[in-house]
Assembly symmetry: none
Homo-oligomer: 184 residues x 2
């Protein structure tokens, strides 16, 4: 949680143009409750926080996911040679959109040397990921199911499923992949 409950609430309340008392009235709590929460002197019960948010109105899910963002307008183009390499052993990941704010997609050019893989342990993380093989062949294991994909073949799976990538062939392998929310 990048933002405290206290900060989030104060931001949301003031953004809505409500005073502590006014919000309290709408929410069915007292103004002191709001005050104490916003000063981070108490940690509200989920029940009371829910009541408070109902006065804005906003759901708990929205409350905990909202973020303060600022706009910016950088160039939309990313030349091949300017993409930073963020890969590892025998693997190169090049990120499209490096440096952009509020990026929702992590789009990667992935390069696997022959024999290279993502490691002995299966990967597992939040989000979804997908990709297309552009060159070479890659052996992909997802949730116990293994397949060998070639140029033009695609994949799409929930990143929480244990997965692994391996270049089992003799030639380098290129993949364009996307995942969201971004892992890089």
């Amino acid at each position: 949680m990048s933002l405290e409950v206290s900060q989030r609430l104060r931001i949301l309340r003031t953004r809505s143009g409500l005073s502590q008392r006014e919000l309290a009235k709408r929410a069915g709590v007292t103004n002191s409750t709001i005050s104490l929460i916003e000063q981070n002197r108490v940690s509200p019960s989920v029940a009371s926080l829910k009541k408070v948010l109902a006065g804005i109105p906003m759901s708990l899910a929205e409350f905990f996911t909202f973020d303060i963002d600022e706009p910016a307008r950088p160039s939309p183009f990313f030349p091949a040679e300017q993409m930073p390499d963020i890969g590892g052993e025998g693997i190169a990941y090049r990120l499209v959109g490096h440096g952009l704010k509020d990026r929702q997609i992590c789009l990667l050019r992935e390069h696997y040397d022959p024999g290279a893989d993502t490691g002995a342990d299966m990967l597992s993380h939040e989000g979804q990921e997908c990709g297309v093989v552009v060159r070479g062949r890659v052996e992909i294991t997802v949730d116990g199911e293994t397949r060998c994909l070639g140029p033009g073949d695609g994949f799409y799976f929930d990143s929480k499923l244990p997965h692994r990538f391996r270049n089992a062939g003799e030639e380098p392998c290129e993949i364009i992949s996307a995942n969201s929310p971004p892992s890089f």
Copy 2:
């Protein structure tokens, strides 16, 4: 909130294969706290709920947004020849992950014949989009800025900015692109 805090916690805990005591230990609370919360006999403070979730581990945002849509697991692999073509005049879009539920990313294999383009009118829609040129050359215009990209080059922009794609070269052009939220 479609799901009670109590239900969510019990589902998440059991799904993680943890007992109340084990989770309590990891979270630094007592087992009775977990029990009472799961029985909905108390509404935990945000502070204690956060502690509990840290033992899973999971953020408050994830906790309140997660949903139980756990249908049968479809295959994560999409062979090249099975991807449906959803393109237009001189253009072919092939979708990776066709038929999946709750897809957050629209990953496309795009094929542009020489001279083909996305039309006279600029495109503009919700979301973000990005891609990498795999073969050939494409002329991309975003918010008045035009660039010609070749293999390995990437782009990333807000889909609301007026944009247009055109294959200005003599050879077919292939692009792997991603956009979110999905337009297909």
